[in-house]
């Protein structure tokens, strides 16, 4: 990773640099969200200053957001000089997929399999996101203890209505 380098606008190195910039992607995000908000709000009444409709505030905010995105985008294209601080860096796709995936899995499993199965699955899939993940006795015992403890505290103690065993088991 060398420091700053000169890029010619229009060159492929320039495009490569832009696509790996954090602020480029924030600009994309803000412009998309801003325009999306405006489009989604067109169906709501806009109203006037003295009687603002439900569309007024979101459209103003959406326009501001899109504008901010554009300003950032202009800055990206005028300052593309290979500054390493602005590079996107390593994206931990595995951890992102496993952590959010395990949470979704918990939500899917809960009504069908019940909390006694959904909790260990959540922990197992989630824990796999760590590079220290290994199936070992201590970890398995910890997982089971935590599952049972949580079930006792939340379902039995605090009365959170989660089925112990879900509909698959006739629960």
């Amino acid at each position: 990773m060398s420091g700053r380098a000169e890029y010619k606008p229009g060159g492929s190195a320039f495009a490569h640099e832009i696509l790996h910039r954090k602020d480029f992607w924030s600009a994309v995000l803000y412009v998309t969200l801003g325009l999306g908000t405006i489009i989604a709000s067109l169906g709501y009444e806009f109203g006037g200053p003295s009687n603002m409709g439900p569309g007024f505030f979101p459209i103003v905010l959406g326009a501001m957001l899109a504008l901010i995105g554009c300003i950032i985008a202009v800055r990206v294209f005028t300052t593309a000089d290979g500054n390493p601080d602005l590079r996107l860096g390593f994206i931990n796709w595995k951890a992102l997929a496993l952590v959010s995936g395990s949470t979704v899995l918990f939500g899917l499993l809960l009504p069908y399999a019940g909390v006694l199965i959904a909790l260990p699955v959540l922990m197992l899939v989630g824990a796999a996101a760590s590079r220290h993940f290994r199936i070992e006795l201590r970890a398995v015992v910890g997982m089971l203890v935590l599952s049972v403890a949580c079930t006792l505290v939340f379902v039995v103690g605090l009365g959170v209505p989660m089925p112990l065993l879900g509909s698959l088991f006739g629960g």
Binding site: K22, D23, W25, S26, L29, Y30, L33, G34, T37, A40, S41, Y44, E45, G48, P49, S50, N51, M52, P54, F57, P58, L61, G62, M64, L65, I68, G69, I71, I72, R75, L88, F90, I91, N92, A95, L96, V99, S100, S102, T103, V104, F106, G107, L108, L110, P111, L122, M123, A127, A129, S130, H132, F133, G142, L146, C150, L158, V160, P161, M162
Partner: protein
């Protein structure tokens, strides 16, 4: 003087056995999460919020406040022992605190932090008791125009104090404001941005947003860098010598003054206060060359400042109902769920609650001082807990917490979504705290702007013709101009680089 009568009411509430218990639970949990790797007070408070729904309002608020300032204390402990600031406000403590520890004075550094925090906390409590009623009276004169301007000032301050690019922080705040608008529109009842999804008909719960962005998102970010940490050396001598006490007295007083002032500023004054205090002490010291090499003043001043700031941050929240940081925003959420509308009326209608929380903060600081010095061995062992044992448990608490909000799995799916949002924001260098603040303030801002303009028949100049409103907006503009000035901008960049 009502102040003593008020504090007495508070003492009666906070001194009850149940509240002492919740105060202890709060500061204990707070210190623990401050010490444990990768779990911040925002995520913890979000996780615990569903549990507080079953408690009384005083119990809940006292416990949540305890977590908040307990975490500051735990954060300084890791800053001193392993040079890893547990909380942003203890970044400065790490500079000289860790050097003291390396010279075998870890115990002294820890007790200096605790004593400074306690002294600052005591003075800040008295300041709150003195000034909160005055501010509360001003707040009673607030109309929708003033509230809108105050909220704008709060958001601008949050922008200014956020890390990284101002524009990006501004964008994050707007995204937060927009997310806050999801759900039924208060005036017309129109469903906005719910796209016919049943689970979103009442809007998105701020607890889900906080748990997703600060809990799950933080986990993914932390998993990118899993380095172990361990405490080197032993902690023997705890008490500071007479010479140490003499050297820390003035820095503690100056730090308290700075912290109390800056803490009232919306947007994370406690962190700013600790930086300011460090700079001041270094400038005033007769031995500036000792700073960075284990100067006790460099621990005492910033610790006093951040604790005083953490206390006075409650003033705008308790008197105006306006949060000064994302944790205050969560506590406001907790109050609303308890059926209390935060604002100037709380002090008048619920004096026991108001003064109880204030006095409990003083009691909590006393507990931190008395209990934590003997418990230091426990904290040291907690510092070494590897993150890969810890984060699956955090996942579990987040998932169950999300489900229990309205007993629906839809909230669990939303949690996963906001986890992704939190990670993306971090990757793009957009700080998530302004998002949460915007999320909470969005509906309040819209409501007040609408009402202000409706009362004045659409005349927007009302925001500038009413004196308090105009002053607040001028404050917001002044803050923005200050940050955009090149010289201050450079300093701001340097201050954030040091972390």
């Amino acid at each position: 003087m009502d102040i003593f009568a008020n504090l007495l009411i508070g003492l009666q509430t906070a001194g009850s056995l149940t509240n002492l218990f919740y105060c202890f639970v709060g500061v204990f949990l707070g210190t623990a999460i401050g010490v444990l790797p990768g779990l911040g007070p925002t995520a913890t408070i979000a996780i615990l919020l569903p549990i507080t729904f079953t408690m009384g309002p005083e119990n809940a608020l006292i416990m949540l406040a305890g977590i908040y300032y307990g975490a500051q204390y735990g954060g300084s402990t890791t800053a001193i022992l392993v040079n890893l600031p547990g909380e942003p406000s203890s970044v400065v403590t790490a500079i000289d605190g860790y050097q003291m520890a390396r010279k075998g004075r870890a115990g002294v550094a820890l007790s200096t932090a605790a004593i400074s925090s306690f002294v600052a906390g005591t003075i800040a409590t008295l300041l709150i008791a003195l000034f909160a009623p005055i501010l509360g009276e001003v707040a009673l004169k607030f109309g929708p125009a003033e509230y809108f301007s105050l909220l704008s000032l709060g958001l601008v301050a949050a922008l200014v104090l956020a890390h990284g690019s101002l524009l990006q922080a501004f964008g994050t705040v707007i995204v937060g404001l927009l997310l806050g608008l999801i759900g039924p529109d208060v005036n017309s009842g129109v469903q906005r941005f719910t796209f016919g999804i049943t689970g979103m008909q009442d809007g998105i719960s701020f607890v889900i947003v906080a748990m997703g962005v600060f809990g799950l998102g933080e986990i993914v970010a932390n998993l990118g860098d899993e380095s172990g940490r361990s405490v080197s050396g032993t902690i023997s001598k705890m008490l500071p010598s007479r010479e140490d006490v003499r050297r820390m007295a003035a820095p503690v007083m100056r730090g308290t003054a700075l912290g109390s002032l800056l803490g009232i500023l919306p947007g994370g004054g406690a962190m700013l206060a600790s930086f300011a205090s460090y700079t001041v002490e270094k400038k005033l010291s007769k031995r500036p060359d000792e700073f960075g090499k284990g100067a006790i003043e460099g621990v005492a001043g910033p610790e006093a400042a951040n604790n005083a700031g953490a206390q006075t941050a409650f003033i705008p929240m308790l008197t105006l109902g306006v949060p000064s940081n994302s944790i205050m925003a969560l506590i406001i959420g907790a109050m609303i769920i308890q059926g209390i509308q935060p604002g100037p009326s709380v002090m008048i209608e619920q004096p026991a609650l108001f003064w109880g929380v204030i006095v409990s903060m003083w009691i909590g600081n006393l507990m931190l001082l008395v209990l934590n010095l003997p418990m230091i061995g426990l904290w040291v062992r907690m510092i070494g807990i590897p993150y890969h044992f810890l984060f699956p448990a955090i996942l579990v608490f987040c998932a169950i917490g999300a489900f229990s909000l309205s007993n629906s799995t839809f909230d669990v799916f939303l949690l996963a979504l906001f986890g992704v949002v939190g990670y993306v924001l971090r990757k793009l260098d957009c700080e998530p705290a302004p998002l949460l603040l915007g999320f909470i303030l969005g509906p309040m801002m819209e409501e007040n702007l609408r009402r202000a303009l409706m009362i004045n028949r659409g005349d927007a100049t009302v925001l500038f013709t009413r004196p308090i409103s105009c002053a607040l907006l001028m404050g917001a503009v002044a803050l923005l101009v200050m940050v955009l000035l090149p010289s201050i901008r450079a300093k701001r960049d340097v201050a954030f680089q040091e972390e």
